[in-house]
Symmetry: C2
Subunit: 406 residues, 2 copies
């Protein structure tokens, strides 16, 4: 059993790095607060006797030796970055539970056959730089390191510049650290476990993701003197697109979601009809066929709206992540651990994307979920109980021990 109080203590200690007034965390990837938590994590890993490496995209790897060093380690971990108004658990629980596992094994003097490597992946959230799960996507070869290094945030700062500014552009090439398998603990970020009173989610699959960059070009004109029928209003156009996205997603019942999370009017003014808007779209399904339908329906709706309103709308797919089907053996290992420890559990699909989803494309991977309050995440009010966090950390540890061998 891990030390529940110690795990809880590290979650709340690190929550100071970027703490917000409403009790959340604002720790954008590769910013000043991210450097603080990274420095803390590096020292904690070193204090626990781990050999810490940083790769060219800033991902951090802390290696605990195993008896058989000829085999790659079992990877465990998640991320320490957050949304602009994020919570204290998303990613953090999984990373600190990996650290807590190492501390527990050290205290108990437990050696494993395979080595174990605990990980903090760079930019899982994807809100400062696109795509989300950026570093693990490069790790599995979905993008080259150079491509990712050149991506820019809204201020035009590149990933390379941001890494250098906090001193986390490491010298290990991306992908050099190999793994025999990967396990990630995370809060569910949805309402199912809580509603059904289950402690553990045995994650067997994950939704695919489509990310788009959109731009609407209408025509700026005077809000007082331009008759309604002559307008080419970019915001009215966006409004129809937002509502179309919503009804397209709803058509598929619980099997799809669609969101417009960002929309910026160029040169906004109270008495000017908006002429230009940049926006982004996030839509998802666990079913690849439905993902295709979402793409098709959204594009068709936009063509129709643009024609009706005599505006130009551009929609560029910037990221497509296929649905995930986690490795059946590792999923079984998670389920066995939950059974052995006597926790209630159910199989579950992840609504969110995770580094484990990327890693699963090149190695066996699986995930453990624990409930979060009211299913709330990507919100400063995100919450989880100490008991559930400890239960998840125990399932994580026992899964890793089963895979690494004692």
């Amino acid at each position: 059993q891990i030390d529940s109080a110690r795990l809880w203590g590290t979650i709340h200690e690190t929550a100071q790095f970027g703490a917000t007034p409403k009790g959340g965390v604002r720790r954008l990837t590769l910013g000043a607060e991210d450097k603080q938590v990274r420095d803390w994590f590096r020292k904690a890993c070193e204090d626990a006797g781990l050999d810490v490496q940083v790769d060219a995209l800033g991902s951090m790897f802390g290696l605990r030796k195993g008896r058989d060093m000829s085999k790659p380690p079992i990877g465990v971990g998640s991320h320490l970055d957050t949304q602009p108004t994020g919570g204290k658990y998303d990613g953090i629980l999984g990373t600190l539970a990996a650290l807590e596992m190492v501390r527990t094994l050290n205290d108990a003097g437990i050696e494993t056959e395979l080595p174990i490597c605990i990980c903090n992946w760079t930019n899982e959230e994807g809100s400062r730089f696109a795509p989300a799960m950026m570093a693990s996507a490069a790790y599995v070869g979905d993008f080259t390191t150079d491509d990712i290094l050149s991506r820019k945030d809204a201020e035009g700062v590149t990933v390379a510049q941001a890494l250098d500014s906090i001193g986390y552009r490491g010298d290990a090439p991306v992908g050099r650290q190999k793994f025999s398998g990967f396990v990630e603990l995370h809060i569910e970020q949805g309402p199912i476990l809580e509603a059904e009173g289950k402690t553990i989610g045995v994650v067997d699959s994950g939704q695919g993701v489509l990310w788009y960059d959109g731009k609407i070009v209408g025509f700026e004109s005077h809000a007082g003197s331009t008759p309604m029928p002559l307008r080419r209003d970019a915001l009215a156009t966006l409004s129809e697109i937002v509502l179309a996205m919503e009804s397209i997603a709803k058509k598929h019942g619980p099997k799809a979601v669609g969101t417009i999370g960002e929309a910026v009017i160029a040169a906004p003014s109270r008495n000017v009809i908006p002429g230009e808007i940049a926006f982004t779209v996030d839509c998802r399904s666990a079913d690849a066929g439905i993902m295709d339908a979402l793409d098709r329906d959204l594009r068709a709706a936009i063509v129709e709206i643009a024609a009706k309103r005599k505006v130009e709308v551009q929609l560029d797919l910037v990221w497509r992540k296929a649905p995930t089907h986690f490795d059946p053996k590792l999923v079984d290992a998670v389920e066995n651990a939950a059974n052995q420890l006597g926790y209630s559990h159910r199989r579950i699909t992840s609504g969110a994307g995770h580094d484990a989803c990327n890693l699963n494309t090149v190695m066996p991977a699986a995930m453990v979920f624990v409930p979060c309050k009211d299913g709330i995440s990507h919100n400063e009010l995100e919450d989880a109980t100490q008991t559930d966090c400890a239960a998840g950390a125990n399932v994580l540890m026992h899964t890793v021990l089963a895979l690494a061998g004692v």
Copy 2:
């Protein structure tokens, strides 16, 4: 007759202060470019022998003596500030035509009975500080000078700070400069004169304006893991409000307009359902009864949308300007001048607000319109012909001469 080439020259000379790549002007009130054009205007007034005063809100008054200095002058002018992506004519034509008139009278050695005062009113556009026509509204007593001085722009800079930063907080109390009447030349900013092939618009009325500040508070949550039916999406809410405003305005045919020109998502992120949005509303009609209906219908629509989407929507009226009915004698004077000069003309309602609309509440006022290309305004592509601008300036001068007496 004014000097058409000289007027055209000053329009294009001053268009350099804040010139944009697309041929427009970005000269936000009380900013660095506004200081440049004000310095230029002050020197031009002094060179024309005018006595220049600046009031406590930065409005500039250049006085040309008349034979009878016991009576207040006839005021003539407009504004030199622009929208963030504005044109070269909106406000500028009216101010520089007033200067051109003085130069013409000087060259011809014409004395008037009443003095003439040419004006540049501060913040007519209302895009940096609300409301629009801010200084003339304070002039007529709709707001106190102190209230206006404390208004803030989006960066939190007050009118007082902005005035001080460019050295245009004058020592004349607001309202001290009295007028016997006021005449303003402006581009139409709408499509009617051009469509009907008329050179001069004899403006007899102006739309009333309602300006609101709005705020939507929904709930931020994860774009991937939050089921569609559980969302409280602030952007989807705004979208319904935008489309409701549009159909409410359309219900009144050509007699009303409604626009949402600004909308800012708090803490936007691609994979976060927007939780909070600030927006503004501009709606107008020349009919006070329709203005009341617009207010009522918009509020009712918002109550319904907010209840359906389980979000909070706040809507605060920040400005109400009643419809304008210009002084019949002055309107006739404009019409007479157009007739005498042989220009085609028609009576017209102003869709936009103007300083003359404020001034008309405490003195006789009227306006002269000239066509602008495709009715486009509040856009960098705003355009007007040299011939039409000169025609408007001639009608302006002859109206003023009739009122001031030769």
